[in-house]
């Protein structure tokens, strides 16, 4: 079980209102990602759910029970911290055992669960080491192991991969996703990295300044961003947002077109521009183009074999079915 409902939750630090009234439902077994720029309140929201912070008003329900006043330990949630927060004075075994020891579980059961978790996380050989003797990736596994053995109703992850190097991050991302498929337990995952959000989530919650901008599946957000903020935040490279003349041709304030939805030609097309920088990634080419009114530079994602250079004149044609239209208030129009 792991159904979490937030009703009209707010949080203020002193006079500063960090989270205005917010409603959110997280279904049992769902992998939910809170994503947004730093300072958007996503970590605070996670800590409110964890019980590490009090909510100022509103209600938090976990599995239908009011958990608003419950201390963290009583909520049945497990958390993996950005810094891993392992107990430096305990061996890996003791770290993993700690929540079970606190719960007063019997030794035999503890041992069984530690063995199982260690096996699943490739930690069997390291059980008697101290956290200080482990690599970043191993520490991360220990932190996950400590969360798993409790069999919580939901896992909370606070930017767990941000201290790992890029290669390790991709690996751990897969492992966490696989773990979710295997355990089918609710997971709430906070990140500022939209790639993590897109690749891992069943449901993405995009936050800005404590306000939920949009909730939906990764592809929903990609295909139908509710407003300009979500449009710009989800997808990489970012969606081009074009104002002015080209937008008024569609009789709207702003049009948005993703870099991968623009066709490039050196001979003909709807818009004409000049190549600034062309980034050749091998598989793709990101071309930054100047001279398009209302959006400078405009980014285009072309195939790896497109051969354009700085200063070349190119012609662009947006794919009509992929044009997003936004009103003056920034909201999607269709």
């Amino acid at each position: 079980m792991g159904q979490i409902n937030l009703t009209q939750v707010t949080k203020s630090f002193g006079d500063v209102n960090v989270i205005p009234p917010l409603d959110l439902n997280i279904n049992d077994g769902e992998f939910t990602v809170f994503v947004g720029p730093s300072g958007c309140g996503k970590s605070t929201l996670l800590r409110l759910i964890a019980g590490l912070e009090d909510i100022t008003s509103g209600k938090i329900e976990i599995d239908g029970q009011d958990a608003t006043e419950l201390p963290p330990a009583k909520r049945g949630l497990a958390m993996v911290f950005q810094s891993y927060a392992l107990y430096p004075h305990m061996s890996v075994r003791k770290n993993i055992a700690f929540p079970m020891k606190m719960a007063g579980m019997d030794e035999a059961e503890q041992k069984k669960r530690i063995e199982a978790a260690a096996k699943a996380l490739n930690l069997t050989d390291y059980l008697d080491r101290r956290p200080g003797q482990l690599s970043g990736g191993q520490r991360q596994r220990v932190a996950i192991g400590r969360a798993i053995v409790r069999e919580p109703s939901a896992f909370l992850f606070d930017e767990p991969l941000s201290n790992l190097d890029a290669a390790l991050r991709v690996g751990m991302r897969l492992e966490i996703s696989e773990m979710h498929k295997r355990l089918a337990t609710t997971m709430i995952y906070v990140t500022h990295d939209q790639v993590e959000a897109m690749t891992m989530a069943d449901k993405i919650v995009v936050l800005q300044a404590g306000v939920i901008e949009q909730v939906g599946s990764p592809l929903e957000l990609y295909r139908r961003p509710r407003n300009k903020f979500v449009a710009g935040f989800i997808g990489s490279p970012k969606m081009n947002l074009i104002e002015g003349k080209l937008a008024s041709e569609h009789s709207v304030h702003t049009i948005g077109i993703r870099p991968e939805h623009i066709d490039v030609s050196t001979t003909e097309g709807a818009w004409q521009g000049t190549v600034g920088v062309a980034e050749h990634l091998g598989s793709d080419t990101f071309i930054h183009i100047h001279g398009i009114p209302g959006c400078d530079p405009l980014t285009v994602r072309a195939g790896g074999d497109v051969d354009v250079r700085h200063g070349d004149t190119v012609y662009l044609t947006p794919q009509a079915q992929h044009i997003h239209k936004f009103g003056a208030d920034g909201l999607r129009l269709d």
């Binding site: 630090f13 800590r47 019980g51 590490l52 912070e53 009090d54 201390p71």
Partner: protein, 288 residues
């Protein structure tokens, strides 16, 4: 950042320390204030009623008061000059590359760990005794008459003993401060052509100013209340009766509690003037 739960737990857990210290501060303080307005002679009739500010006036106008203030200032001032002056020099010396630095550090710090009664008695007898003291032997060796240290140079002797005890403290703190001096800054000034003395004056000393201030303030607080060193050497004779010692005599020796308490209030006020400066520095450090 915390929950209501942990905040109330925090208040609860802070309570014992706060209550104890509050009691420790307020109860005796209020009693001292109370006694200071009374004629109170435990061995000669006990509580003889209120006297207003009589005790305060009498304490200040007694012939022993000004000499005691003078003795206090000379001892505190003398010890401060010696410990800070030599402390800076020693700190710089100990910061130089050398063999056996750790051992020298230990030798220099050792006096701080000697209990006051021991250092006072060792100095009094084995060094300052006019017939058998080591200093007397030394004087005689050079054909001079031994000095009767604790009566003829009583204040200097006390300053010497106290400075010996506190020099390690000053040295250790100043050494720590010197070690935090940015080497590149010194090298830059050397590149600019500043000679050694100027470098000391314009770079090292300003860098040490905060540490020196702290040494002065903390030592002042401790030195204002030195007691054992005087009790076992001169017993307050030969002009070494400090304010602390005078109050002690009024209260416990002549059992004039009212008078002594008025003196105590003066001492508290004096200490608080120093304390305010120290707290400002420490407080600033807390913000950082």
């Amino acid at each position: 950042m915390a929950t209501q739960h942990s905040r109330s737990a925090a208040r609860f857990m802070m309570a014992p320390a706060v209550v104890l210290l509050l009691g420790w501060m307020l109860v005796p303080l209020l009693m001292t204030l109370y006694f200071s307005f009374k004629t109170y002679l435990p061995l000669r009739g006990g509580d003889l009623g209120w006297t207003g500010f009589d005790n305060y006036v009498r304490f200040v106008s007694s012939s022993a008061f000004w000499p005691s203030i003078q003795a206090t200032l000379i001892i505190v001032g003398g010890a401060l000059i010696i410990t800070v002056g030599f402390g800076v020099l020693l700190g710089i010396l100990l910061n130089q590359p050398m063999w056996g630095q750790g051992v020298v550090r230990i030798l220099v710090i050792a006096p701080f760990f000697v209990m006051p009664t021991v250092s006072a008695l060792v100095w009094k007898n084995m060094f300052m005794d006019p017939t058998n003291g080591l200093l007397a032997h030394l004087w005689r060796f050079f054909g001079a008459d031994p000095v009767v240290w604790l009566s003829d140079a009583s204040l200097f002797s006390i300053i010497l003993i106290v400075s010996w005890q506190w020099l390690p403290f000053a040295t250790l703190i100043l050494l720590t401060a010197i070690q935090s001096l940015d080497g590149e800054q010194l090298e830059a000034s050397e590149m600019d052509g500043a000679p050694v003395l100027k470098r000391f004056w314009y770079i090292v000393l300003p860098h040490l100013s905060r540490a020196i201030t702290i040494v002065i303030l903390i030592e002042t607080i401790f030195l204002l209340s030195i007691f054992a060193e005087i009790l076992v050497t001169t017993g307050g004779a030969f002009g070494t009766r400090t304010l602390t010692y005078l109050i002690f005599q009024r209260v416990l020796e002549s059992q004039n509690v009212g008078l002594g308490s008025a003196g105590g209030v003066y001492a508290i006020i004096l200490a608080n003037i120093v304390a305010i400066f120290l707290m400002r520095i420490v407080g600033k450090n807390l913000d950082a």
